[in-house]
């Protein structure tokens, strides 16, 4: 564990000691090195499922893909922020990078914690750098509002969790993840137990976010700078899914009935957010709402509590992490050129930036779950498991598939196809850096198709 954690924290030092001219390239290279080393986690050889154990951290098939995704995302965020940070004074650039690195450190500790309470602390700790990213580095005044929404939604959800965890510690005597799955099931039937159940999941449902408590997400996504949007979509939302899968094991007997409203809400959310996407004029907001829909599918998969559901959720989390992060990057390339997020102001870009169109196409196809992308594998597994739960869910998941396809292609058609708008007079050509950024998103997506079992979670 420390092999990754130490270099990651040391990156902050590197940031402040590197020569200004080499700042961005050094940081990209170093963080990429850390990401490469993190790939060694994929080698599983332990019988118990837990690997790289030390006294408070470990990896297992569920956390490994998320950990690697976290490590992989840092160089991508640094690459993506390079352009809009270039105008800032040097020290601000350095503090920005340090902020991203500190976020990464917290995330690694959150995903690898073996004690639930440590996971909780790290889960909360990630709020601080994210809040600073949104409210300090966002562009419009609305960023302050977005930051408030982000902070208070998450806190309102997660404070009950703290109490629930303390109670659990009192009752069980432990909060250790490797131990908890071997303990006896608790006998839960009072109303107090139901509240405890809700408190255990609410934090994560808000973080996912579940439809109904999602208002913070589009705001945060839209107002955050590109690195913030990327890490939010790719990793921070996944903290919710990850936490749910960790905790849901000890909630077993109650989940069966109590999960009903949440599954329904999640599935209904797919249709509602899809409909919202159809009417979006704001590119980043569209991608953010599509995230809500996809994460709803993840939530439904987890709440059904079947091996297929868990697998599907894990796969979809990773696949969606890469896809939505890539889509935000693409939206940002448009934003940096036209200085507007409004879709209709950047139409017909295929003629101007043809290679970018390829990336748009690819990422949109991944977003609408074109086979054999891992997005499809995840969705198919989840749709199967919800269908098994109740046949009628297919009406919602099926309609969701349809609407997802429509708004993804609508986004592609509007931004790329058609005639170019008249007001676009000069557009910067796309940089190699941007293509590199997209390649680094696409590469893991493509390679994972060949061996999806790496992100298969517990069922592998």
């Amino acid at each position: 564990m420390l092999k990754i954690l130490m270099p990651t924290t040391m990156l902050i030092l590197t940031t402040w000691l590197t020569k200004p001219a080499w700042l961005w390239s050094t940081m990209t290279a170093n963080s990429l090195l850390v990401a490469t080393i993190s790939l060694t986690w994929l080698k599983w050889d332990s019988e118990s499922g837990w690997n790289s154990l030390n006294s408070s951290m470990a990896t297992d098939p569920l956390s490994t893909p998320l950990l690697i995704l976290t490590c992989w995302l840092l160089p991508l965020m640094i690459l993506a922020s390079q352009n809009h940070m270039s105008m800032e004074p040097l020290n601000r650039q350095r503090s920005f990078i340090s902020l991203l690195i500190s976020l990464q450190t917290f995330l690694i500790m959150a995903f690898s914690a073996t004690e639930i309470i440590m996971f909780y602390i790290m889960f909360e700790a990630t709020l601080i750098p994210t809040l600073i990213i949104i409210t300090r580095w966002g562009n419009q005044t609305e960023r302050l509002n977005a930051g408030t929404y982000f902070l208070f939604y998450t806190l309102m959800g997660s404070l009950p969790l703290l109490i629930a965890l303390l109670m659990t510690q009192n009752n069980l005597g432990t909060l250790s993840m490797p131990l908890i799955q071997h303990l006896h099931q608790m006998k839960l039937h009072t109303h107090g137990d139901m509240m405890w159940w809700t408190a255990c999941l609410l934090a994560f449902l808000v973080k996912m976010p579940l439809y109904g408590v999602h208002l913070w997400l589009p705001k945060a996504h839209v107002e955050a700078p590109i690195a913030g949007s990327m890490v939010l979509a790719a990793v921070l939302l996944k903290l919710g899914g990850y936490g749910m899968m960790r905790l849901i094991m000890m909630l077993t007997p109650m989940t069966k009935t109590l999960a009903y409203p949440f599954i329904i809400l999640a599935l209904w959310g797919i249709i509602m957010t899809g409909s919202i996407c159809l009417r979006q004029t704001d590119l980043k907001s569209l991608i953010a709402y599509s995230s809500v829909g996809h994460m709803g599918l993840v939530a439904a998969g987890i709440l059904t509590q079947t091996p297929w559901g868990f697998t599907g959720a894990t796969v979809l989390m990773i696949a969606h992490g890469l896809t939505s992060s890539a889509l935000f990057c693409l939206a940002n390339t448009n934003y940096e050129r036209t200085h507007s997020r409004t879709m209709i102001l950047a139409r017909g870009m295929q003629v101007i930036l043809p290679l970018m169109t390829f990336w748009w196409l690819m990422m949109n196809l991944a977003n609408l779950a074109l086979p054999p992308s891992t997005n499809l594998m995840g969705e198919l597994l989840i749709i199967t498991t919800t269908f098994n739960w109740s046949n009628w869910t297919l009406t919602m998941t099926g309609l969701g598939m349809l609407i997802t396809a429509i708004y993804s292609l609508h986004m592609f058609l509007t931004t790329q196809r058609g005639l170019t708008t008249n007001h676009i007079i000069s557009i910067e050509p796309s940089h190699t850096r941007e293509h590199l950024l997209m390649t680094m998103h696409a590469l893991p997506m493509l390679l994972l198709i060949l061996k999806p079992e790496l992100i298969w979670g517990w069922s592998y």
Partner: protein
Amino acid sequence: MYTTLIFNSTLMTMFIILTAPILTTLNPMKFDKKWAELWVKTAVQLAFFTSLIPLFIYLDQGIETITTNWQWMNTNTFNINISFKFDQYSIVFIPIALYVTWSILEFANWYMHQDPKMNQFFKYLLLFLITMMILVTANNMFQLFIGWEGVGIMSFLLIGWWHGRTNANTAALQAVIYNRVGDIGLTLSMIWFAINLNTWEMQQMFIMSNNIDMTIPLLGLTLAATGKSAQFGLHPWLPAAMEGPTPVSALLHSSTMVVAGIFLLIRLHPLMDNNKLILTTCLCLGALTTLFTAACALTQNDIKKIIAFSTSSQLGLMMVAIGLNQPQLAFLHICTHAFFKAMLFLCSGSIIHSLNDEQDIRKMGGLHNMLPTTSSCTMIGSMALTGMPFLAGFFSKDAIIESLNSSHLNAWALITTLMATSFTAVYSLRIIYLVMMNYPRFQSLSPINENDTKTHNPIKRLAWGSVIAGMMIFLNILPTKSQTMTMPIHMKTAAIMVTILGILTAMELTKLTSTQLKIIPNINLHNPSNMLGYFPNIIHRLLPQTNLYLGQKMATHLTDQTWFEKIGPKGILALQIPTTKMINNSQQGLIKTYLTMFFLTTVLFTTMTMI
């Protein structure tokens, strides 16, 4: 043993040959325009000749194989493999598709030579073909799904090729949306198979499904086929898809995409063998489609639209064959249809190009003098389409109608199909009459020229196919279902009789129009046919409008921006503000008052304690 080895390896070689041109595009260098012909066309041509080897082995020895190459993924006892099924259907279909595509590519080389992105266009066409090959050879549902969605997306890109035009983009999106509705059906059946049969491998599915009621997944498959093969209800995308360049229409309507739905049902036919409900559904759906689209074709004026509707009508006929429990006949019709439909589209492409991009048949005429090869081939294609004896269409179409005649399943379906058959003759005649006969009605300075070898060679090659392919396939395929052997003479000749009847009536009607017996024509019947049964007007306005309206008003404004805000952040804010104000009121910074209060209360308490 060696034959099997050769059999499998040649087929694999074919796949490698087809993907080779795609791999060359990884080279960052810019290719000149020769790349399209040099790589793509040659690859398809080469693949065609390679695929003849397994075809001959199959014809000689009847080898059919299933090759499992790689276990892709597994979840708790559920395996997904890469496995190929080289059976009668795929072995026969592959060479045909390659032959047709080879001709289309050669034609496209001429048709698209002015397009600055011709290489990319060829790459798309090739990818389109490859995804279809994946679909045809797939032995498990997942692999089939890859091909299935692949053709969908490639058709999206190709239909929207001229993306500067709004119509092209709309048509492309429309195709995807209709197909996606069908995909819900395919997903449903895949899920059902996974849950109840625990496998997606086809041979295992067939064995496991013996004693299970398969109605639900079969309905899903029917829905999937309805979307992909443009059956009634989900048909409007097919005529709209002619917004793409003509080679795309030719490929899309002949050997890829639209036949995929029918092919799915043929492939999974063992599942529906005994399910009467599904068979009847298919029969009626097919009959309805074939009549409705044939009726629409009657009054269209766009040459490509007429041919597109005729494809839809033929697809309905294939569906009828599926409903009759005769998948092989449906397959036969796919094969023969590929030749003449591709040729008809190439001919229309040649005509359109020659008349300076004019597609309206009312503005053509007399072309048999100026475009003799194209005209003769259109003639051959139209006759093959109407089922002229011993041309390609005859063998499949006649067989389907014969077995429909001699079955006692559904008289309504029989009559509907026969009516559609006579309509086929009518709209074919209409094309021939308005495009080739009489006097020219186009502008006199049209760049008419069909002397390029790239134009007439592919058309001629397909013409040969349209003449002999039917017989060749018919003589070489061993039917597995019982065929109609004997029947009374009026049943045997029913198809040809209604066709002739259709032609005679149509001739009479044309005479009526040219002599103008009625000054004001009665167009009550003409309107619904010309407006496609008012289907697009109703469905394409009502549904999206409602959906978008709800998306805006319900989902965005009412729920997201009003209720969720009110219940959540804004509501809490509104609750907090009065209390904040109240507390604020009592804290006005009047330090003297506070101190006095403090002093008084302290004195009060001390005195109380002292007493």
